[in-house]
Symmetry: C2
Subunit: 370 residues, 2 copies
Amino acid sequence: MSTADSFSATYQLVASSRDEAERTAANLCIEQSVEMPLDAVPDHVRNSIATLNSLNQIEECIWAANVSYSKLLVDDDRTQFLNVLFGNSSIQQNVKLIDVENSYLNEILPGPSFGISGIRKGLNVNDRPLSCTALKPVGLSPSDLAERAYQFSRGGIDIIKDDHGLANQGSASFYSRVASCVRAVKKGEDISGKRTLYFPNITCSPSKVIERYKTAHDLGADGVVISPQLSGLEILSELAEIGEIPLMAHPAFSGSFVIHSNQGISAAFYYGKLWRSFGADAVIYPNAGGRFSFTIDECKDINNSCRSEIGVFNRSFPTPGGGINRDSVNQWMNQYGNDTIFLIGGSLYQHPGGIEAATKEFQQKLKNYE
Amino acid sequence: MSTADSFSATYQLVASSRDEAERTAANLCIEQSVEMPLDAVPDHVRNSIATLNSLNQIEECIWAANVSYSKLLVDDDRTQFLNVLFGNSSIQQNVKLIDVENSYLNEILPGPSFGISGIRKGLNVNDRPLSCTALKPVGLSPSDLAERAYQFSRGGIDIIKDDHGLANQGSASFYSRVASCVRAVKKGEDISGKRTLYFPNITCSPSKVIERYKTAHDLGADGVVISPQLSGLEILSELAEIGEIPLMAHPAFSGSFVIHSNQGISAAFYYGKLWRSFGADAVIYPNAGGRFSFTIDECKDINNSCRSEIGVFNRSFPTPGGGINRDSVNQWMNQYGNDTIFLIGGSLYQHPGGIEAATKEFQQKLKNYE
């Protein structure tokens, strides 16, 4: 296959010898392409068979296999792209997807429509990290939620996102919640004198997501939250192509792919590169040091994937959440730097002075970082 | 919460002491419901907080936690149901979802429209396991694929499914492939004198699946293949509610959820119960003894979940694939019994006498089992 007709992906394999690694890699090539015994593949379609470009030992028992796929296997179908990358291999114990060739990502995926610069432009903030909080808990009415949004906005927060558990429950239907919160945020902006963006959660059945996105935009929302692993990654790319407002991706239901060292998909690739390529303008991921299990280095790798060059794609805003509170945010700013959205929920609600005071303190810490 | 207002789910937790298990369970209850410090949850919405019903030690370091969720958290939203069950918990190392209360599954999900009895009725075969093969490889033209389908049909196979890698590639567009294969199967039926069902693969972007399902039905397909983890589980339930033709679910991209012993989702629950509840009439899963890692007991647990009573739901056909060939099928029939679809791909294509002869042998083995 010439490189114009193929794209490459890299997998981490576990194998105790080069022989075993070669067998595993050969099986992977078959599993992810023709999925049948090679002697039964007709001669005229043998270019459908994936091939091994290289196999390098990384450390004891760990190998990196670079595999070449014919583009004809995918043919511009983004869901089929995921299937070719990791369909049946997801069922195998010792295979982990770690990268895909940038030029092919550019070829079949849209990347972020807004990215870091687009979100910054919406806020007119260029030289410091951004603040973000989550509107919660589920169960509150639209007016209760709007009151909280109002207080955050008065405090001058940059972004208010819905909790990913706010759907279309009777307690706060999507339409009513978004309408109320948009109004409340605007009212707060008049007092704070600065912009606050509101991102409602549109995660729902794949067949209804686009409608909910358009409703959010019509009601004046500044962006949306979506959990790609619940509503479908290809939906994310379709929203990015509509491109009316920014997309903040949430990791709900995605964890089993990314938290195993020898299986699944590399977190840096999955959150930082794949979601970004599918169109996430901001990528929420489970931060180190809190309730989840990533190390700081793994989080920095995700940040790096969000921000580093992938050909023509805009950069995505890494958005660590979980494990950050009012007191620790300075430390995390030093770790992660300027182009980061810091998502703090719980500890703002717990502030003895209330939400507005908590937000002002949070905001001041970010300003000090300029 | 009264049981009418709540539903329960069971999780397996890893913890070295009862104290640790209790902390893990308490955190799980918060994480999957309000996701904020309990002291910050307003009094009037405290019924949003999930509660622990029971915590039992199963074996050393392994605990079963039964958790009660308010139905208001979900409110008939099936994607939000998945989020409540395993959204953020998917990111945690020591939590595995293992069951949900049957009556609630009945309440919010449709179950299979056809199930075992419906698929049997389409074939008029009641007393033996069913045969199934996969049309492949990707890269063949519609007429090449149709020729293969014709040979399988002449041989009298029960079900021909598309390989899950056949999408809408230029080599064999969806429309042209389905039209050609439907005609070829009918021609083969005239020779075999028996019914053969053809199930094309409709997996694609969530926003296009329903259209592709309707096209398949209009063209005369007898069922469809869909990979729920690629196109979205809620889409599966929407197709089940349309209910024109049976749904065969394929495990592509689902493996990372089900192959870890202490994390993810139990395979028996996920494939056998959750996919069935969302509407899968037949459930393909990776069989023991082949390229994948389940044990025979785990496969029997999946079979059992597909077939045992879940209130009003039809039963689903367990469809083991991978690790079954012409020679071993007798052994697997003895293991798995009558209400099973045996999916054999590769070894039929490798038969020295050709596809038709291979199919006749396969079919004879199933008939001997009556």
